[in-house]
């Protein structure tokens, strides 16, 4: 469903060129759980944002459902984000002045779904992840774990086919992190494609496949039994930094 061919992302800063992504070739099938790992600045978020139609590659071809994204209008990209994709961010990105329920309702507002249906769907999604008592609470009154669960509810309320999570547990303690991961995995088991950027070996270990990025390139594919040996990979990251030329 997701096919990346020779994807480059280049930032020009003065007369310097910075390749955030270089020559990415990858195919992701429906229902897969992919983890993107790699040192800071290796291009994980950049890749995720391109897959999420929030950003465009400088070069190469990205097709979603066999249609080339480069040929889509901004309006069509917005439609894809609305109907096919759900985002979860490390910083939650809840709208502070809106209640949990209203935050979950937000995408449905842009889809023009009638109010009654909106409320029903938002309530049932929130209730299904145990947030019923927090409907009318604003983000400031919620714990980090609760916020991220509200964000997951928001990302899934339009029944997307792909969930894109950029370090979803990065701001959480291990207990709430585990809870959030379990929610994401559950969605994946229901058939939603899940792509997670993470620094956490425990998160990566639960994926079907792990893609290791360095300096904008995918340097390793890890799957199956090899996932057990991930930890050493991560210990290496801390001493690594990856400036590109």
């Amino acid at each position: 469903m997701i096919r990346l061919e020779n994807i480059w992302k280049t930032y020009e800063m003065g007369d310097q060129k910075l390749h955030a992504l270089r020559e990415i070739n990858e195919e992701i099938r429906t229902g897969e759980h992919i983890a993107l790992i790699g040192p800071s600045g290796s291009g994980k978020s950049t890749l995720l944002n391109i897959i999420g139609c929030l950003d465009q590659p400088s070069q190469g071809s990205y097709s979603f459902d066999d249609t080339e994204i480069a040929h889509r209008t901004p309006q069509e990209l917005a439609d894809i984000r609305l109907h096919e994709l759900g985002f979860i961010f490390q910083a939650f990105h809840l709208v502070p002045r809106l209640t949990a329920l209203e935050n979950v309702t937000l995408p449905m507002l842009f889809a023009g779904i009638p109010k009654a249906e909106r409320l029903e769907r938002a309530k049932s999604v929130l209730a299904s992840i145990g947030l019923e008592p927090w409907f009318d609470h604003r983000p400031a009154e919620l714990s980090g774990g609760q916020k991220q669960r509200v964000a997951i509810a928001r990302a899934t309320v339009m029944n997307p086919r792909v969930l894109l999570a950029d370090e979803p547990t990065g701001n959480l303690d291990s207990d709430s992190g585990a809870q959030v991961l379990e929610l994401l995995n559950e969605r994946n088991r229901q058939g939603i494609t899940l792509i997670t950027v993470t620094h956490d070996p425990n998160v990566a270990r639960q994926a079907h496949r792990v893609l290791v990025l360095r300096d904008g390139s995918i340097v390793r594919h890890i799957e199956g039994t090899h996932l057990q040996s991930l930890s050493e990979l991560f210990t290496g990251f801390d001493s690594m930094d990856s400036p590109s030329d």
Partner: protein, 411 residues
Amino acid sequence: MSPDEPTTRNALEFTDALSLSGSAIRAYPLRSLLSGLGIGIGVMAVVLLTSIGEGTRRYVVEQFTQFGTNIIAINPGKVETGGMPGVFGGTTQKLSIADAEAIARLPDVQKVVPMSVGQARVEGNNRGRSVYVYGSTSDLPEVFKFGVGQGQFVPKSDPRRGTQVAVLGPTLKRELFEEANALGQFVRISGVRFRIIGIMEPKGQMLGFDIDDAIYIPLASSMQLFNQDELNEIDVTFAHEDMTEALAESIRRLLTERHNNKEDFTITTQTAMIETSGKVMNIVTLSVGAIAGISLFVGAVGIFTMMWISVGERTSEIGLLRAVGATENQVLYLFLLEAVLLTTGGGAAGALTALGLGALLRAAVPGLPVYTDPIYIFAALGMSTLTGIVSGLAPARRAASLPPVESLRSE
């Protein structure tokens, strides 16, 4: 996952956009209040000033038309611009009773009242008072819509022959005779004895002048009393307002012909009077318009600044909206609506304040004419909305064109 779900979208409902933009305004109450204040004060000033202006205009029109609108006045002398009375001299003709009689024979003319006016001391019941003396004919009450309260008006008779009868205005009557019966009593006007045959009904004031402080006598008696050889005024009534222009023209032609082809008189129609007061009001309206323009501009700058800052502060929120599927147009719409809500809200508050102040003014100064035409309220609100669109457009476009990735990064 449901593959057959629609992949396009319905429009963002107005009410939903309203509550979303409204929540942003409520999130910063003080800032919103201050930015709406400029528009509010502007609208308040405009509504209040136009209310006073419109009230004054209505008052003036009412004053002029209290004698009816189907009336034309003819006075001796030419006062119109360009005319130089007497310079090209020759024999200027006096405005005469014969002129009045000739006008009366014109088609469509209903009544003609020749008038001789002077000021004199009226004495009676051992008291005296200086008042206006109106010499006229029996048709005067009908033409000016005056009522006779007691007795009768000057009877129908030959306008060239005087009789020593008088009709008192109610103020004069009260000043001289108080509550006593005055009918059949005598007064002296500049020493000449007149028998009182009637008392007028109260009519009130015109432009602050007491119409009831007057005395009415036959035309010839007045001309004799004041030693006049011409009329001060001829008033003509006619059936329908539409005839005004045509009739004024035929009177002008008739009199010019009668006056040796000289237009040595002035014809005043009610329409002309109202037009004159309308011109004065136009100047007032223009000044109010200038104030409105300035205050709306100042208000617009305030809204623009506030919205621009707000977009800068909320980039991450804007990025999020785009990430969950909002289109550029939907973001534009939301921010534009926010600006419009601020200005229209400010405008509505300003209009309400003006209405309140108007009511207060009316209560405090009873004579002050204040009239708020609903049109001005709607116009002010319309202008406020327009100001919102104009001042919010650039910030809203900025919000819509922010690249989502960069916006999400900014936190």
